[in-house]
Every structure is written in C-alpha cells, then in structure tokens.
Amino acid sequence: MARIDISKVTKFYGKTQVVHGVDFTIEDGEFVVILGPSGCGKSTLLRMIAGLEEISGGTISIAGEVVNDKEPRARGCAMVFQNYALYPHMSVAENIGYGLKVAGVPSAERLMRVRAVAKTVGLEEFLDRRPGQLSGGQRQRVAMARAMIKEPKVFLFDEPLSNLDAKLRVQMRIEIRKLHQRLKATSVFVTHDQVEAMTLADRLVIMNKGIIEQIGAPKDVYDRPASVFVAGFIGAPGLNLLPATVSSDSHSLTLADGQRLIIEPTRYPSLNPGPVTLGLRAEALNIRQGGAFVPQGGLKATFDFAEELGVGQHIHAEVAGSPLVIHVDGRHPFAFGAGLNIDVSPRDMQLFDSVTGLRITETDVPTSVSAAA
C-alpha cells in the first residue's frame, strides 16, 4: 500500500520560502494532479516526494513510513522528467535497464524485463537505438518504460508532456491514463496545463505561491472554485470575473456601470453589503435573441469579436469596463459594437470576497470541496 501523507511541508531556498506548509494525503492507487502556474512550488513539492530536494519542514510519508531522510533510491518512487532525462550515450534498452543494473539485477533477467516493458509501451523495435535517433513521442515512451520497469510504489510525473506537440500530447495523455488503470499505482502528476490536469486527475491539487488553493475532483473544482485564483485558472476560458457591490439589503449587485442584478440572499448566509467579485461561467451565460431585455435578470454588454471553436463560438464582449466571454453553440454574426442582451440566472452567480479572493459559500452546495490553505 503506498499512501502518501504530506504533512505541514515547507521548503526554503536560503531565506526565500517557496512552499508554505502543505498538507494533504494521496490515497493508494490514486492519480493526483498538482496544478499551478510556474513558480507555484508544485515541482518542488514533487521533487521533495522523490527525494531530490531536502524537506525544510514537516514530513512526507510513503506507505506509512517517514521518508524525509531517505535517499531517492530507498523511497520506491519512479519519476518521468520534463525533458525525459534519457542518458544520451546509452541505447534504449540500456536506458530502461539502468536502474536494474545499478541494483545488481543479473543481465539475463534484466534483458527479459526490459523486453517485457518495452513491449507494453511499443518500443520493442527500438531497443538498440540511441535516444538521439528517436522522435519526441518515442523518447517519452522510453522515459515511461524506465519508470515502469522498477515496478515502483509511486509514479511521479514532472510535466512530462510539455515538450510534445499538441496532438501527441493528447495521445500520450490517454496512454498515461490507460497505464494507470492497468497498474493502479499511486501517481502524482505535476502540470501547468489545466486541460491535462482535468482529463487525467482523480483528484486535483491546485497550488499558487507555495500554498494549496483547492483540493478536489476535477468537476467539483470546475463547478465550485474555492477562490478567484482557481476560478481564473481552471476552464478555458476561466471564470468571467466582474467587480460588483452588494446592496445594503443584500438583495442585489451593482456593477461598475450601475447595472443591477438580483441575487438570492438566502443562499449566502455570510454575505455582507459592500464590494465583491462576481464570477460567471461562459457556458452559463445565454445571449437573448430578440424579445425584451429583462432588467435585473440580465446584463447589457457590447460585442467585440467572436472566436471560432468549431463546435461553437466564444463571444468576446465588454460589460461595465470588464471583458466577458460567452460560450454559444451556433454562429452569431454580430457587428462590432453591437449591444448584447445576456440572461444571467441567480443560480449561476458565484461570489468571491473582494479582499481575500475566497469563495463566499452557498447554502445549497456541499462545502467539503473547498479546502483552502
């Protein structure tokens, strides 16, 4: 059983703190994706699990055993690196088998195991080649095979797909997911690509500036982001964010240009009058064609341009001085500067504290998903 417990982990480089007390548990067999912008501490965290970085404070346990002072080789982890880190002077077979060679596995057995692993990733024909003679996707597979052959308790992935072109990335994503379904090994995957994260993860850990912003299943994180940061980071496009003011009776919001929207005050027990940030998903908005504008149940916006997606369009508009993106299924030949009437349902309105950026929780939604630091 390889459960990973991360408890109050911190990391300092000299006086700079890059990880600020991170706490979470990865269950045995779970596929966890750590997502965040570059410099958020996600790779550092992964490398602390691997044993490539000293842990400055707190503990990391793998399978119930504290590993803080253990060397990488004693932790039972295998890692796939961003640039693959294949040994350029060794053949594919030697690359895959190097860990076994160091461990003193006899060469006959080594060869057998290398062949077996190479077969599962489709590399049998390339065993004698050097990494320099392989394509990006093939190198990626060698890196995977090198990790797999050790039959590790834990797989660690450090942005392994970021050097591949878009099409190959999608394909490798599927292969990694399949692999996980078959091996059921605990996996930690670090990426800055939210699509990759959403599609791969059993559970997402979103980090920013060395703290965890939110932990949860991809759908929960998407539906109920715990903070403005997560809201902007998850989804393509991210949540539309508009500054607004809650009226003194907490029954409505006023935007910067004076437009008003009705809210359901009973949903927000902790809502106070004053400034908030209003979040709206592009998919939750609807452009009303014809018919009358419903004051206080909708927004008036100005059309900028439409972005073609193939399956529909992203309508880019402006409301109260802020950009607003609306997802539509059909095609809309609006002219630049045209006025748009947009329906907004009170149920789709998400509110965030304008100072802390944290979500103002609703009564009708389970709150367990948010676990802000």
Binding site: L52, P72, A85, Y87, Y98, R146
Partner: protein
C-alpha cells in the same frame, strides 16, 4: 548567395596559397634538408627538391642521438601527463560542480589562478621543490609549530623523508599535471549537462561515483578527445622543465631536449651537419604533428572552447 567575383576569387586563392607557402615551406625545407648529403645541404642556395640520402640520414640521426629510448621517454611523459591532466581535471571539476560545500568556489579559483603562474615565472623555486618535494610540508609543519608540539608531547621529531624528483619520470610528469585549462573545460562541460540527468540517475539508484563513471565520463568523450589532443601536444613539446630536472640524459632524456644537443655549427666546433640535425628535428616534431592532423576536429574544439 549569388555573388560573382572572379577577380577577387583568384586573389583569394593567391593569398591563401601564399599563406600556405609561408606556413608550410619551413617544414618542407626541414624535410628537403634531411634528405641530402653533407655537401649538398651546405650549398648556397640549397636545393628545393628532396635528395636520396633520406634513409642514411635518418638512420644516423636516430642512432647518434639515441632517439629510441628518448622517443619512448617522450611518449611515456606525454601520455602520463595527458592522462593525468584529463583524470585530475575530470574529478576536480566534478567535485566543484556536483558537490555542495563551502569552499568550492575558493578551490576553483585557486586552481584557475594558476593560469597566471606559468612555469617560466616560478622556475627556480619550482626546481628547488622538485629537488625535495616534501620540503614545503616539512616547513609547514615547522612553521605552524605542529612538529614542535608533537616533539614535546610524544618525544618524536617529525622529519619527512627527502624525496627528490630530479631524474625521474615522476619529476617529468607530476609537476605538469595540475591543469587550470582542463578543469575549466570540464567545469564548462558539466554545467551544460542537464540537471535532470543526475536526478534520473539518483532515481535509478546510482550514487555519485556510479553516476560519474556510468554517465558523465562516457558523455565527456568529446571533451576528453579535445583536451587529450592539446595536452599531448603540450606535454610532448615541453622543453625547459625536462632540461632543468634531467641530468641523467641517457636514461630520462626526452626527444625535444635532444634538440639542444643536435644544433650543429661553430658553437661546438663541429662541421655544420645540418642534414642530420634536420632529420632529427623532423622526427621530434612528427608525433604531435600526426596527433594534430588526425585529431584535428577535437583539437580545434578543445582550443576554442577553453579560451585558454
């Protein structure tokens, strides 16, 4: 690029051919002179085409100077110095780049600054050290008072044995092995090796020595060839140092040292046997010349990337 410059092209070739003449004619004259007999070589002007005395001249030059053992000595020294320089550069740079300890920058600079202390400017005291290698340590022990303290405590007077490197291969090789250039070159190379390679090796369970031996050394083959080529040329061509520390020429003389003894002319009151002298010169210069010709690619890379 489409560019028609026929006159300039001819001029270019003319200049380049003149360059070739300038750089290679001295070598040609040495060769031509080494193939004529005593009388022909001393005619003025001398012929520009080889004669037929080549075998005789070379045999004589070889035997007279005892080039057999001298060439062998030169090879031993050149290979010893080259191998030593590569080994010591590879491990010192490894220590400096891949280990984290407080004095590593200081150590790097201590090694690097020796560039400013070529043999020629410290020649007399270096000779004195070679005559008794452990003397610096003896004086250190005395000066720091360690030997006095030990003498008082244990009643033993510490006297390091005298170890002279004069007239020995050790003396020809060891003082030349320290290498700022090589250490710098290897350090530069290590810095270009991706960090992930060391991490991957760590994940594969390899320790520092294993990583060095299995990954870094094989990867540095190009580097090694480059460094090896320039260092072979450098050590084969050593002249002043062997001249100083070798007095037992019969046993430890090197080929280049021998050049001093084959200078003909009034200096030694002999007839100017230039044909023999030139045959000897050519033999002495051939091994490094061959190395440069065969290793050209590495040699150029080594030179240019070290910035000396």
């Amino acid at each position: 690029m489409v560019e028609r410059t026929p006159i300039l092209n001819i001029l270019t070739h003319l200049i380049l051919i003149m360059g070739l003449i300038m750089l290679l004619v001295p070598l040609w004259i040495v060769f031509v002179a080494s193939t004529h007999d005593f009388r022909t070589v001393n005619t003025v002007p001398m012929p520009l085409w080889p004669g037929n005395q080549m075998v005789a001249n070379y045999t004589l030059a070889w035997q007279q100077s005892g080039f057999g053992p001298k060439m062998l000595n030169s090879f031993i020294v050149a290979i010893g110095v080259t191998a030593g320089k590569i080994a010591i550069a590879a491990i010192s740079a490894y220590s400096i780049v891949y280990f984290n300890y407080r004095f590593r920058s200081l150590f790097f600079w201590l090694i690097f600054v020796t560039l400013m202390l070529p043999l020629e400017v410290r020649i007399v005291p270096t000779y004195a050290v070679a005559a008794n290698v452990l003397r610096p340590y003896q004086e250190l022990l005395d000066a720091t008072g360690i030997s006095t303290i030990l003498g008082a405590l244990a009643g033993i007077k510490i006297t390091l044995p005298e170890w002279s490197m004069l007239n020995s291969y050790t003396g020809l090789i060891l003082p030349l092995i320290a290498t700022a250039t090589g250490t710098f070159l290897y350090r530069q190379f290590y810095l270009t090796v991706p960090d992930e390679l060391a991490e991957a090796a760590k994940m594969d369970g390899a320790g520092p020595l294993r990583f060095f031996w299995d990954v870094l050394l094989p990867l540095s083959k190009t580097n090694m060839a480059a460094l090896g080529t320039i260092m072979f040329v450098y050590s084969w061509n050593q002249y002043l140092w062997p001249l100083l520390i070798i007095t037992d020429i019969a046993n430890y003389g090197t080929a280049v040292m021998q050049l001093q003894r084959i200078v003909p002319g009034p200096l030694f009151g002999e007839p100017p046997r230039w044909h023999i002298a030139m045959a000897g010169t050519l033999m002495v210069m051939t091994p490094p010349l061959l190395v440069v010709i065969f290793m050209q690619r590495w040699f150029v890379r080594g030179l240019v990337s070290t910035d000396k």
